[in-house]
């Protein structure tokens, strides 16, 4: 019988689900709202629909991310540090360092054979996270998806000195008024963010291969700025938002395999996607 494993990654900004057997057979990404439990159900339902599988067919569900405890149908909760390590190693077996630029936090993870050996996190300040880019994109009247390409066109990145997101927003508007080009302004923003992230990640003594994940990895301008700052070539997984969910599903598979190997029954929760009524 084919076994299916689900990984549910409830991040601070986006909720991601993948269903896997030998490879990914379905995935779904949606915004994380305040009602994480209800949304986890919905995103899971969409992924199941895409895979044409009933929920009962899923052997094991692992939840990860900040909202992992709000997934009532998950069989196990594992932190995003372990899940990203596993997910990245699936694509890059030689990876040694992961930089995850998430919606409202940023992490550096040192890994060895797909397992975390050290990590650092910034969860105190929006600077150094995707939220910083969102706010600046709003201030500049551009779409966040466009920022990467716009920044790459800049040949003289503007110096953005404020690390406070709110004050940096004011600074960006002031620079725009001074006549700094949009390309150089966005390039400066990427440089500022890259400085912030690299300062934190350098605590780990970065080693190759270095992989960037999270929403920030979709911004080519940021990835280039980070690469320049760190002095390493950076690789990005095919869908960097899904790395944590993929890792969660793969760790679920490991748990199921170990139970089989040890000859013990796999402990799972009731397979039910009923809507939670507590909100």
């Amino acid at each position: 019988m084919t076994q299916y494993f689900a990984g549910v990654d409830i991040g601070s900004t986006m909720t991601k689900v993948v269903i896997m057997n030998k490879g990914i057979i379905a995935s779904n990404i949606g915004p994380t709202g305040p009602e994480q439990r209800r949304l986890a159900n919905k995103v899971m339902e969409k992924a199941l629909k895409e895979s044409d599988l009933p929920f009962e067919a899923i052997t094991y569900v692992v939840a990860t991310g900040y909202g992992r405890i709000n997934v009532p149908f998950a069989d196990k909760q594992i932190t995003e540090i372990s899940c990203h390590a596993k997910g990245v190693a699936n694509f890059f077996p030689e990876a040694k360092t992961i930089i995850e630029v998430g919606g409202q936090d940023c992490k550096g993870i040192k890994i060895n054979n797909g397992k975390p050996v050290d990590f650092v996190m910034n969860d105190k300040c929006a600077a150094g996270t995707g939220r910083f880019l969102e706010i600046i994109a709003d201030a500049l009247g551009i779409k966040i998806e466009e920022m990467g390409e716009i920044g790459l066109q800049g040949n003289n990145p503007a110096k953005i000195s404020n690390i406070c997101t709110v004050f940096a927003e004011q600074e960006v508007v002031a620079r725009l008024a001074e006549g700094v080009s949009l390309n150089n302004l966005v390039a400066g923003i990427h440089e500022s963010l890259a400085n912030r992230v690299s300062r934190m990640v350098n605590r780990l003594h970065v080693a190759e291969e270095v992989i960037v994940t999270g929403g920030g990895a979709k911004n080519v301008g940021l990835v280039k700025a980070l690469s320049d700052k760190l002095g390493y070539a950076l690789a990005v997984p095919p869908e960097p938002l899904l790395t944590g969910a993929i890792g969660a599903a793969l760790l679920g598979k490991d748990i199921a395999d170990k139970a089989l190997q040890d000859g013990v029954s796999l402990e799972t929760k009731e397979r039910s996607l009923k809507e939670i009524k507590i909100f």
Binding site: V117, M121, D123
Partner: protein, 465 residues
């Protein structure tokens, strides 16, 4: 209200030892005692811990008000914010030492009202007759705090004690400069005694001072012996408790009560070791609290670590003692000279070891020694944003440790009874918050980090297997 009280009770930290459980009432009585002492006309001094004058003030029956401790109490009771805000309204920056800010806010409020601020935690800290500051060579707020508070208590004099020690250089010979430091410190402490004699109108009882210095030295040795018991597996006491037992160590030095406390703790730990009773039932990870003052409002995080099978058998914070016999204090009948030698030899205790390992430093050697002695699996540090003294050095220490010591080479006895090398990885976790400013703290984020750290420890253990 009843519901809120229940929540608070649930959050209260659990102690592993009965002795640590007695500290709360002890501190409460001490703080209440300062108010009572004021009413009784006793001499009261604002004071800082670890300033080498404990026995001196005890010998002169001066009642100390440990101002940093009171700020910590306000933090632990989650009632520091209003004092911090008061200080901010007086134009002090929120990024200064929050112990000092809390104290400044409290004192200004008390002086303004001419009585304790409403519902002051544990009755409030009494107004002093004089203030004894000392930044040692570590902490500038300890020099400036009392000067700043004089704005609100202009009639309260200050004596600032200079307590330096020779900074570490790998080519410096301490023996060549030690005497200069001793001479200076002795003069400073004698100057302090003259100041206290003037302020109190009483003369120093030198025989009593000698007795108390002797008691202080015996207490140091007893504490060292007691804390070394925590090497046992499972660990009978963790850092969470040590953040309580620091009270008799540094607030009651030179008192019989302080000495007796550690006698009791020593016995309790020996009993627990005999029963193989640890902080947690199933001890999985042994951690070193590698520095930083704790978040006093979040001591229950130690319980959270415990709930994951992690214990802290040792810490560098508030382990302000070394065994006296190892300090090789020269023979002298002068209690002031003894205090000066104890001071210098304590702060230079790890220098010789550091010199033997290229790239090392005394603080790093201390970490290494504890890692080996206490069979440590990982290090946790706390960056309190408002404490420059600790903060700057911590990251550096961790980096140096990783450079010169990770993976950790450990000599173990093989099955053939031959020594062989083993490499041990040592994950680390840096927590970020503050000592009393709760606005810097997120329980969800902190515990998320702890969860990830525990998973890292688990992987490291599996890798080793």
């Amino acid at each position: 209200m009843a519901e809120e009280q229940k929540k608070e009770e649930r959050k209260r930290r659990r102690h592993a030892t009965e002795a640590a459980g007695k500290i709360g009432p002890m501190v409460k009585a001490t703080i209440g005692g300062t108010v009572k002492a004021r009413e009784e006309g006793k001499s009261i001094a604002y004071a800082f811990i670890v300033c080498s004058y404990d026995e001196i003030i005890r010998a002169m029956d001066i009642v100390p008000v440990w101002t940093e401790n009171y700020a910590g109490i306000c933090g632990a009771k989650r009632d520091a914010t209003r004092f911090l805000e008061k200080a901010e309204s007086l134009n002090f920056s929120r990024s200064l030492c929050t112990y000092a800010l809390c104290g400044l806010g409290f004192d200004q409020w008390r002086e303004d009202l001419d009585e304790m601020p409403p519902d002051a935690p544990w009755g409030g800290q009494a107004k002093p007759d004089f203030m004894l500051s000392s930044g040692q060579i570590l902490c500038d707020p300890r020099n400036k705090w009392y000067q700043a508070v004089q704005q609100y208590m202009p009639d309260v004099p200050i004596y600032n004690v200079g307590l330096p020690w020779p900074l570490y250089e790998d080519d410096i010979k301490i023996a060549e400069v030690e005497d200069y430091y001793i001479k200076y410190i002795v003069e400073e402490l004698r100057g302090l005694i003259k100041f206290l004699e003037r302020q109190t109108g009483r003369k120093m009882d030198w025989d009593r001072l000698s007795e108390l210095v002797d008691l202080g030295e015996r207490t140091w040795s007893l504490i060292w012996e007691t804390y070394e018991l925590r090497r046992a597996v499972p660990a009978p006491m963790g850092t969470g408790d040590a953040m309580n037992t620091m009270v008799p160590m540094v607030f009651m030095l030179g008192t019989q009560e302080g000495y007796d406390f550690f006698l009791e703790l020593n016995k309790e730990l020996k009993d627990k070791i005999a029963r193989k009773e640890g902080v947690v039932k199933d001890e999985k990870y042994r951690l070193l609290w590698g520095g930083g003052l704790p978040s006093w409002f979040a001591l229950s995080d130690f319980n959270y670590f415990n709930s994951k099978g992690a214990v802290f058998p040792v810490e560098t914070t508030y382990r302000m003692i070394e065994p006296i016999y190892r300090l090789n204090i020269p023979d002298t009948n002068d209690p002031i000279e003894r205090l000066a030698w104890r001071w210098i030899r304590y702060w230079t205790y790890w220098y010789d070891k550091a010199r033997k390992r290229p790239g090392s430093e005394p603080d790093v050697e201390r970490l290494i020694q504890y890692i080996e002695d206490y069979q440590i699996d990982g290090i946790v540090m706390h960056e309190a944003f408002s404490c420059r003294t600790w903060h700057l050095g911590l990251i550096w220490q961790l980096n140096q440790l990783k450079k010169i010591y990770k993976p950790i080479p450990v000599l173990i006895l093989g099955s053939n009874r031959q020594k062989k090398d083993e490499k041990r990885e040592l994950p680390s976790l840096i927590l970020e918050s503050d000592i009393v400013d709760i606005s810097s703290y997120s329980e969800v984020d902190t515990r998320n980090r702890i969860d990830a750290f525990i998973e890292t420890l688990e992987q490291t253990k599996k890798n080793k297997v």
